[in-house]
């Protein structure tokens, strides 16, 4: 018995909470590394600007950073950039809503019923091995060169990541939690609502982030198909006039769209997954 008491005593003395003091230097180190990252990017920009001004980089190869900024400003003021951005955003939004909702629907069908899995999963697994961007020629034949193939491509690109991750999340439900739910009187609908879906949400959101990235990629490719508006059109049009400044502005907009989409999902994750240990503030 004395052994037991000694054990218990030691357990009681050891504090469970981490001491915050040793963290500080790490944060300062982080700040320094951030400064260095910023500095190296700034140096590259300065070199680029200098080379452009010295005539080492021809404007038709790559415009100077200052020119790009000025062009971006002009495009915003003239309303040209907002117009094309809205068109592109509209395509992404439409394609994403179709793609994500069908991905979620298929994942629920396949995840929640054995028969659903037999019917849905095999074709989905076969289709996903296909690089979906290779479907462009078929889509043009099927849907023409209007908006439909563009939206279809974005939908296709976003449906698969959502389907695959959500399906895996549903199937990965902890059977012990399911048992606890059954013992405490949850019926099938209650189990799905309280146990299966909340448990599958984290991986579903990872899928959503992939889907946004994939949707953006699809948008870039789709907008090469005979677009008359949209960021892709802006870029292609600029190519014909050797306007590298406009092309870079378009590329920057694509990049910002990617960053924005990622931030959006992260923000949602912070709210919806507040229960996760790594998100709980100590």
């Amino acid at each position: 018995m004395s052994d037991t008491h000694a054990l218990g005593g030691r357990g009681a003395v050891a504090p469970a909470r981490p001491v915050p003091a040793p963290r500080r230097p790490r944060f300062r180190g982080l700040d320094l590394s951030r400064t260095r990252r910023f500095a190296s990017s700034a140096v590259i920009l300065l070199l680029w600007q200098g080379a452009s001004m010295a005539g080492l980089i021809a404007p038709r190869t790559l415009a100077a950073p200052t020119t790009i900024v000025a062009t971006a400003w002009e495009l915003v003021l003239s309303g040209e950039l907002p117009h094309h951005l809205l068109v592109s955003l509209g395509r992404v939004a439409t394609g994403l809503s179709i793609g994500v909702s069908s991905g979620v629907a298929l994942a629920l069908i396949a995840g929640l019923s054995r028969r659903g899995e037999e019917i849905v999963d095999a074709p989905m697994q076969m289709l996903r091995t296909l690089p979906f961007l290779a479907l462009v020629p078929l889509f043009i034949l099927w849907f023409g060169i209007g908006e439909t193939p563009k939206i279809a491509l974005v939908s296709l690109g976003s449906a698969f990541p959502v389907y695959l991750t959500l399906f895996a999340g549903i199937r990965g439900t902890d059977p012990k939690l399911m048992e606890a739910g059954r013992v405490f009187g949850l019926d099938r609908a209650g189990l799905i609502r309280h146990v299966v879906l909340p448990g599958a949400l984290p991986s579903g959101l990872v899928g959503l982030r992939y889907a946004l990235g994939s949707a953006l990629l699809s948008l870039v490719i789709a907008e090469q198909i005979n677009a008359t508006a949209g960021i892709g059109f802006l870029i292609n049009d600029a190519r014909d006039f050797l306007r590298t400044d406009v092309i870079v502005v378009g590329l920057l907009v694509y990049a910002l769209l990617g960053l924005g989409a990622d931030a959006l999902v992260r923000g949602f994750e912070r709210r919806a997954l507040a229960w996760r240990p790594n998100l709980i503030k100590g």
Partner: protein, 241 residues
Amino acid sequence: MSDERRVSVGGLTRRFGSNTVLHGLDLELEPGSFTALLGRSGSGKTTLLRTLAGLDPAPAEARIGLPDRVAAVFQEPRLLPWKRVWANVALGLEGRDAKGRAERALGEVGLARHLEAWPATLSGGEAQRAALARALVREPRLLLLDEPFAALDALTRIRMHALVLELWRAHGPTTLIVTHDVDEAVLLADRVLVLDAGRIAADIAVEMPRPRSHGDARFVALRRRLLAELGLEAEVLQEAA
């Protein structure tokens, strides 16, 4: 009320493939009694408990009479990590004031300050107390405890033993605890069953007043007897000591 807490099992046989886990088991639990079920790994005790909890289907030929309100606490707390502690306790409760009932149950196990906490922030002992509250809030007539303290440190386990006895006295459910800790069985239960190869090998009444002490001569004697039933010979015990 007393009869509604009675547990009566007759001729329960469970087979998994060619492996017979329970051999025509008969078991009666007196209303409001506290019984401990001891047994080595693979003796069938978890299978019996899962059948009583309704997690495994009972075979048609077995006679099983169970109270209508059964609750269980498992070895792991099995709290849903995405629900706050009170919502875990209120899970599946019907009617209004589910939150109020959950809060009162959590107060009873000493977790009143953690109502809004996420399960991941609780210590092992706190999480297991929340699991106890989740079982008690249903006012169960049969409370099943499946090695509920096995994963806790020694000091926390001592506190949990006291808490379980207190709650059992206050609510009076027929209680069955599965454990392979002989001390725990003797400390808590009125009656200790030893399950061996799917049959009840020993059925021993524990007639000691509570609180019980490990130093009590009757405690030591009963402990030795139960260890022998579990196949640990005296020589082994002496060597270990």
